[in-house]
């Protein structure tokens, strides 16, 4: 079964009031600040207990397999196929533990990253106190002496109201990366 993201619904839903738009965007800016300043524990604190952090693989498919670009066509691997990430709280906690150890060589020395988030489109969530948020990202990574990686893509989040400094926790993040072959030696950073 393919996961489903309804682009038409995102396009046709009216924009929310300015205050909510502002609040969500500020959440993302501050989240990016944590990631870019390797405040791993604080960033992990934004992941809710039922977090699903998912990045499917993207394939080159001729258009005859689906008339429009959509998550319903086999351009993306589905939920029970191989993926770049398909994580729950336990495996994310393991990843945190790796990053906090002294011998996580792929991030020690740490990459220099810049997460830029834009095109934030908010629609009401299915569950009370949640929002569905679509956003675009560009992540620049510079590593060691000369390594440069550039990642772009789309995030589909479920944000849940939370009693924390930033006002939300991330309940689900689906990352649609704009690369078929990952043009980097690894994916040792978060998106």
């Amino acid at each position: 079964m393919a996961f489903h993201i309804d682009i038409n619904q995102l396009v046709s839903t009216p924009a929310p009031d300015l205050a909510l738009q502002h609040e969500v965007e500020q959440f993302y800016y501050r989240e990016a600040l944590l990631l870019d300043n390797i405040q791993y524990e604080d960033w992990f604190g934004l992941l809710d207990d039922d977090i699903h952090y998912f990045m499917p693989i993207r394939r080159n498919r001729m258009q005859r397999y689906g008339k429009v670009r959509s998550t319903d066509v086999p351009e993306y691997t589905s939920e029970h196929e191989f993926a770049h990430f398909d994580e729950d709280k336990a495996t994310m906690t393991g990843r945190l533990r790796k990053l906090l150890s002294d011998y996580s060589w792929s991030e020690n020395p740490a990459s220099r990253t810049r997460h830029t988030v834009s095109n934030v489109i908010i629609t009401p969530g299915e569950e009370n106190g949640t929002l569905n948020v679509c956003s675009s990202f560009i992540v620049y990574r510079n590593r060691l002496e000369t390594q440069v990686d550039l990642f772009a893509g789309e995030r589909h989040d479920i944000l849940r109201r939370a009693d924390n400094t930033l006002g939300f926790k991330i309940a689900k993040r689906t990352i649609l990366i704009d690369q078929s072959t990952i043009l980097s030696n690894n994916l040792s950073i978060f998106f």
């Binding site: 191989f82 770049h84 990053l99 996580s104 980097s184």
Partner: protein, 392 residues
């Protein structure tokens, strides 16, 4: 009429190349592999990663090919070529294809040995992963692809011969990522009991622990460790493979079929290190499971591979880090000319091991690495297969 095809193929050929190919299952279930190149102007015949096709029509001038790779139609043939074109002469180049336990090997060289000869005495060690069940194996959908700026031999050698890096430094944080929260690295015993195998011919190699599940458990967790070492299905695999050593007691195995096909039995990742010039590889990784494994086991293999052996995997992330740094160091004039140490296990191998066939040394050994590099050197320097081929 339907055919499934993959392009380019997951291939392992004794000639290191970058040629894109189309792999097509034919109506009679046989497999054909041919160059993904139209013989008119060289355009790709397929730009789909996978799917079904009735024909391959070049998008440049429309030369059409059937699923076996034969040129069957040329637009305006009568007018343009005045019937002077012999279509049978202008089909894409066909590769030799052979399979072993579901793995498809393609080769351009008509003179090369058969696959059976090529695999030499390494087959029992391949079977640990690919011949556990009568039902055979299947791949979990999706191939993960990524590029690493390193020479293919670093990756191939590591999977061939390097248990040492896993037991020492490279993967300490990967091991830690999978430990129960109340256990730390000081409580972990890194196994030391096991062996390494170096193929009699061909540069293939493998290594494994025996009766010590520590590393396998750190990678795959308790569920898969139990499944491949202790469950009734593991016992069935022992029966099929004729030995509980091969069915259940070899653990944390790494293996390379020279040059670029590597896999980890028990983890069940398999990958090809496609060279892209001397300084870069494109990794194609996927996950293999027994076709008749329970769904929850297939799902656990899938999740643990994503967690550990993938571009974002807590183990694999750190492998790329080593290989690209070594490759960078080798740009230096002195660094490139400096002798490096590859003496581990030298003179300690035996061909009379009581349990394991072939040339066997200890689990921490570089015998198979020496075999890989020696075979590579022979591939580069022997004038023909007459001197290079395995002795019968």
């Amino acid at each position: 009429m339907k055919a499934t095809f993959l392009t380019p193929v997951i291939s392992s050929t004794p000639i290191v190349g970058e040629d894109p190919v189309i792999m097509v299952r034919q109506k009679d279930s046989s497999i054909r592999v041919f160059l993904n190149q139209c013989r008119h102007r060289g355009m790709k015949l397929s730009r789909d990663d996978a799917g079904n096709a009735k024909a391959f029509v070049c998008t440049y001038h429309g030369w059409a090919h059937d699923i076996s790779g034969q040129l069957i139609d040329v637009p305006f043939e009568e007018q343009g070529h005045c019937n002077g074109l012999d279509k049978s002469e202008w089909s894409p180049l066909q590769a030799r294809v052979d399979t072993y336990r579901g793995l498809v090997f393609a080769n351009w060289d008509e003179e090369a040995p058969s696959l059976d000869d090529y695999l030499s005495d390494s087959k029992p060690y391949i079977d640990v992963m690919f011949n556990r069940s009568e039902a055979g194996t299947e791949a979990i959908g999706g191939i993960q692809k990524w590029v690493i700026p390193t020479n293919w031999k670093f990756a191939a050698e590591q999977f061939c011969s390097d248990m040492y890096h896993a037991g020492t430094m490279s993967h300490l944080s990967g091991i830690e990522a999978g430990l129960p929260t109340d256990v730390n690295l000081n409580n972990v015993d890194i196994p030391t009991n096991g062996n390494q195998f170096r193929a009699k011919w061909g540069g293939h190699g493998t290594g494994y622990y025996v009766d010590q599940p520590g590393l396998l458990a750190a990678i795959m967790g308790p569920k898969i460790t139990d499944y491949v070492t202790a469950s009734p299905r593991a016992e069935a695999a022992s029966k099929r493979l004729g030995s509980d050593l091969f069915g259940q007691r070899m653990m944390g195995q790494h293996m390379t079929i020279f040059p670029t096909c590597s896999f980890l039995p028990g983890v069940n990742t398999i990958r090809t290190w496609h060279p892209r010039g001397p300084g870069e590889i494109e990794v194609w990784a996927f996950i293999v499971v027994e076709s008749d494994a329970p769904d929850h086991i297939k799902e656990e293999f899938r999740k643990q591979n994503i967690r550990t052996f993938s571009a974002g995997g807590v183990f694999e992330q750190d492998d790329g880090e080593n290989w690209i740094e070594v490759q960078k160091v080798f740009k230096g004039n002195k660094a490139r000319k400096t002798k490096l140490n590859v003496q581990m296990g030298l003179g300690q191998s035996t061909t009379e091991h009581p349990d394991f066939p072939g040339r066997i040394s200890g689990v921490y050994s570089e015998d198979a690495a020496r075999g890989l590099y020696q075979h590579w050197l022979r591939m580069m320097t022997e004038p023909s297969w007459d001197t290079l081929k395995p002795s019968s």
